[in-house]
Subunit: 111 residues, 2 copies
Amino acid sequence: MHAFDVLGDPVRRRILELLADDERAAGAIAEIIQREFAISQAAVSQHLKVLRDYGFARVRREGARRLYGVETAPLRDIDAWLDRFRHFWEPKLDALATEIARGKKKRKKPA
Amino acid sequence: MHAFDVLGDPVRRRILELLADDERAAGAIAEIIQREFAISQAAVSQHLKVLRDYGFARVRREGARRLYGVETAPLRDIDAWLDRFRHFWEPKLDALATEIARGKKKRKKPA
DNA sequence: GACTTATATAAGCATATACTTAAATAATGC
DNA sequence: GCATTATTTAAGTATATGCTTATATAAGTC
């Protein structure tokens, strides 16, 4: 499955949206998703597995809970793939603006 | 089908890459794709239909040919969806830099 | 107008994936 | 250690999608 396929599923997109702010326990995620999509807890768990398997999420145990967090590498890959089309909707930037805009440089201190 | 599903298919991604530079005739696209993916002309045509149907491509007739071009609205939608994750990999920009970076403003003249 | 070229559509089939229910695994509390 | 809570995994099924071959549509050529 390709990263784009992973994001093709609305449940998985919603889960990632939930994780964009904060880590959340599998159960807390399941509760929200079950309410919004009317699917079983097992189904939610299977989606979490897909997100793990394709590098969109990480888990850590905390007692009986499993805390999920977003992992951005595949999202960055997608962002990079879009680069070849960006000139269609982003104005041409000069070299410096591009550096700033796309964060290619680590800056020591914001001015 | 969601925009992400459309991009989930490697053939469709490749077609869009081909269109990123230039318009191309359906036949020219089919030729390349058939060589690279070993699928039939009909299959390529079906992918072109999906790209049309979901707003990723437009066609115009030119004699017996059909010239395809990329249409970026759904790509921009995806780009916008990624916004909520960008803070993970882009440095925090100040307001002005963000304006410049994301092209929210039409500038009259580059300095 | 028949023939060829360019492209799309139809019909049918195979496979992947998203769900279900049931069961397994693991930590917590008594 | 047994029950409970939290979560994953297994097995089975339905459906969507991507392919195939065959056919339709439309324009260009003689």
